[in-house]
C-alpha cells in the first residue's frame, strides 16, 4: 500500500466483506440451496470488484473467478464460500502489510507508518 487512502479503502473493503459474510452465512445456514436475490448480489459483486482491485494477483483467491454472474443463480452457500475465501486472502494481504513498531502499524511504501493496525491473525505475527 502506498497511501493512507489505500489503507482506508482496504479497511472499508474488509469491513464490507465481513458484513456481507455475517449476513449471508446466516442465510446459508438456514437454506444453503436458496439463491441470493439480484439486489444483494449486486452489492456482493461491488465489494468483490473493489477487493479484486486492492488484492493483486498473488492474493486473489481464484484466478478464474472475479465476480458472480446473476445468470448462474449463485446460492447462499456459494456466496458464503467465496466471501470466506476473499476474507482469508484479505487478512493474508493485511498481515503482510503490517509491522510491529512499538505497536502494530501499517507499512506504507515499504516503511512503517503512524497508522495503527490490529494484530495480524494469519502470518507475520513475529514481524
Amino acid at each position: 500500500m502506498k497511501t493512507k487512502e489505500d489503507i482506508e479503502a482496504f479497511e472499508r473493503m474488509m469491513g464490507q466483506l465481513e458484513g456481507l459474510y455475517n449476513e449471508i452465512s446466516q442465510l446459508a445456514k438456514k437454506s444453503p440451496n436458496d439463491a441470493v436475490n439480484a439486489f444483494k448480489l449486486k452489492f456482493v459483486n461491488r465489494v468483490l470488484s473493489t477487493a479484486n482491485l486492492i488484492l493483486d494477483a498473488s492474493y486473489r483467491p481464484f484466478v478464474e473467478f472475479s465476480e458472480f454472474n446473476s445468470d448462474d443463480l449463485p446460492t447462499n452457500s456459494d456466496v458464503t464460500m467465496m466471501l470466506t475465501q476473499y476474507m482469508e486472502q484479505s487478512e493474508r494481504f493485511r498481515s503482510d502489510n503490517v509491522i510491529y513498531d512499538g505497536g502494530w502499524k501499517y507499512i506504507l511504501d515499504g516503511e512503517s507508518s503512524d497508522v495503527g493496525a490490529a494484530q495480524p491473525s494469519r502470518i507475520g505475527r513475529n514481524r
Partner: protein
C-alpha cells in the same frame, strides 16, 4: 400446431394470463369458470353495479311480459338468453352449449306469477331461480347473464383487442339484447376476434366477474340455510325436487338466505384462472419426488409425473402459463409432457421465442436412472414441429457425458436446445418458490446458460 391453442398465442400475442383483464378464450374448449352476477352487484364500480341493474331489469321484464299476457314472447327471450357460446365459459369440451327447452323456460316465467314476492317486486338476484326450478345451475346463470350483458361484453372485447392488437373481423353476433326494445336482435358488421377453427366470433369476459360457483348457489343454500329436517324426516331421502317444491311455498327461507349472502358480500371474491399450490404442498410434492425410486416399480413413474405435473405449473406461474399435460406413447414407452405457453415475460423467454421459435415450451418427464440416447432422440423428434426447438428433460440425475454431448451436438448441427432439470434443480426451484429471493424460472435459465457455455 399449438397444443390447446389460446386466442392470444395463436395471434403471436404472448402475454401471461395474469396480466390480462379477461379470461383468454381457448379455441377447442370452454374455460371452466362462470360469470357470477353477484360479482357485479357487490362491485364497488358504478359501471358493474349499473350493469347488474340492467341485467335484473332485463330479467324482470320477462315477468312484466308474462303479466301482460305475452308469455310466449317472454319464453322465447329466455330460451334465446339461455346459451351464450361466444364467451366460452363452462365445462363444454366443444364450445357449444344447448339452450333450455320451452317447458323449462315456462317454468321459470311462472315464478313471476306463482310467487307473490317476485310478482310484486321482481327479482333482486335472478340466480334465485336455482332454488325453484330443477336443472338450472351455474352454467345457465352465467349464460343468461352474458346474454343480457352481451352488448357491453362486445364493447369490452373490441376495446381489449384494440389495446393488445388482436386481429378482428366483421362478424355477425346473434342475440344481442337491445334495452330499448327489450328484445334480442342480431347485429352485423361487429369487429370481433374469431375462432379460426369455425370462424365464429369470440367475446371476452372480465376476469373480475368469474367464479367457480355463484355466491348465491343451490348447494350452498342446501348446506347452510335449507331446513332439511322440516322438508323430510329422513334426510338421506331428501331429493332436490322436494327442496325446490318446499322453496316455492316457503320463499321467505330463500329470501332470508339471500339477505344473509348480501350481508357477507365482502367475503365474495372472484376465483383465479389458475391457483398456485401453497408452499407447504409444493415442498410435500418435492419430498415425495425425492423418495421415489427410478423406474416403474409401484407406479413410481406415474407418481413422479403426477407430482411434477402439479408442482411445475405452480413454480413457473405466472411467467409461464400452463397449457396441458399430455400423455403419448412412443414405441411402447409412455411419455408425459407438460406444455406451457411462452409468455415472453422476460428476456430469457424472449430469447427462447426468437432463437428457437418456442411459442410453447415442452417439458418431458422421465423417471429413469439415467437418460439414454433414445430419450434425447424422442424429445428431439418432438421439437421438430411448430412447438419450437427448445425442450426440457425433467429427470432424476444429471446427464452422463455422452448424452450431454449429444444435446450439444444437436445445437451445433441443428440449433436445437435440450436442457435437463434434475432433482437438485427442482429442489432449488422449490426453495426459491418459498423464499421468493429469485424466480424459480431462473433455475431453467441457469441450466440453459450452462448448456450454452458448453456449446461451441
Amino acid at each position: 400446431m399449438l397444443i390447446r391453442p389460446r386466442l392470444t398465442d395463436y395471434h403471436g400475442i404472448l402475454l401471461p394470463q395474469a396480466e390480462l383483464d379477461f379470461a383468454i378464450p381457448f379455441f377447442d374448449e370452454d374455460t371452466p369458470l362462470y360469470v357470477d352476477p353477484f360479482m357485479l352487484w357487490k362491485s364497488p364500480s358504478q359501471q358493474d353495479q349499473a350493469l347488474h341493474t340492467s341485467l335484473i331489469n332485463a330479467f324482470n321484464h320477462l315477468g312484466q311480459l308474462a303479466k301482460e299476457g305475452e308469455e310466449e314472447k317472454a319464453i322465447s327471450i329466455l330460451v334465446a338468453a339461455s346459451e351464450c357460446d361466444e364467451v366460452g365459459l363452462g365445462s363444454s369440451a366443444t364450445r357449444k352449449g344447448k339452450r333450455i327447452g320451452c317447458a323449462k323456460a315456462e317454468e321459470i316465467i311462472q315464478l313471476f306469477k306463482r310467487l307473490p314476492l317476485y310478482s310484486a317486486r321482481g327479482f333482486r338476484h335472478f340466480e334465485e331461480i336455482q332454488f325453484y326450478v330443477d336443472g338450472i345451475s351455474k352454467d345457465r346463470i352465467s349464460d343468461i347473464s352474458c346474454s343480457f350483458l352481451k352488448s357491453f361484453l362486445v364493447d369490452f372485447t373490441i376495446d381489449q383487442c384494440a389495446k393488445l392488437g388482436i386481429p378482428t373481423q366483421d362478424s355477425r353476433v346473434d342475440n344481442v339484447y337491445n334495452y330499448r326494445r327489450n328484445d334480442f336482435e342480431a347485429q352485423e358488421g361487429i369487429r370481433l376476434p374469431v375462432n379460426p377453427e369455425n370462424r365464429k366470433p369470440l367475446i371476452f369476459v372480465p376476469k373480475r366477474w368469474l367464479r367457480f360457483t355463484p355466491w348465491i348457489s343451490y348447494d350452498d343454500y342446501f348446506a347452510q340455510a335449507c331446513p332439511q329436517d322440516e322438508i323430510s324426516h329422513v334426510p338421506e331421502e331428501l331429493k332436490r325436487v322436494e327442496v325446490l317444491n318446499y322453496n316455492r311455498d316457503h320463499y321467505g327461507v330463500v329470501e332470508e338466505y339471500v339477505t344473509k349472502k348480501e350481508r357477507s358480500f365482502e367475503d365474495c371474491k372472484n376465483d383465479p384462472l389458475f391457483s398456485q399450490l401453497p408452499i407447504t404442498s409444493a415442498k410435500r410434492r418435492y419430498e415425495l419426488i425425492k423418495k421415489l425410486p427410478t423406474g416403474k416399480t409401484d407406479n413410481a413413474d406415474r407418481k413422479y409425473e403426477d407430482a411434477l405435473g402439479q408442482l411445475l405449473p405452480s413454480l413457473l406461474y405466472p411467467k409461464l402459463d400452463f397449457a396441458q399435460a399430455q400423455a403419448r406413447t412412443d414405441s411402447g414407452v409412455s411419455i408425459r409432457d407438460l406444455i406451457f405457453y411462452n409468455t415472453r415475460a422476460n428476456e430469457f423467454l424472449m430469447e427462447l421465442l426468437n432463437d428457437y421459435g418456442s411459442r410453447q415450451i415442452t417439458m418431458e418427464l422421465k423417471n429413469v436412472r439415467s437418460i439414454e440416447r433414445e430419450h434425447i432422440d424422442q424429445l428431439n423428434r418432438y421439437l421438430s414441429d411448430e412447438l419450437g426447438k427448445f425442450g426440457i428433460l425433467v429427470t432424476r440425475h444429471p446427464l452422463k457425458r455422452p448424452e450431454f454431448q449429444r444435446t450439444i451436438d444437436l445445437w451445433s448441427g441443428q440449433r436445437r436446445a435440450i436442457v435437463a432439470l434434475t432433482d437438485t434443480d427442482i429442489s432449488q426451484m422449490v426453495d426459491l418458490f418459498e423464499s421468493k429471493q429469485r424466480d424459480p424460472l431462473d433455475v431453467i435459465k441457469k441450466k440453459y446458460v450452462e448448456y450454452r457455455r458448453a456449446c461451441p
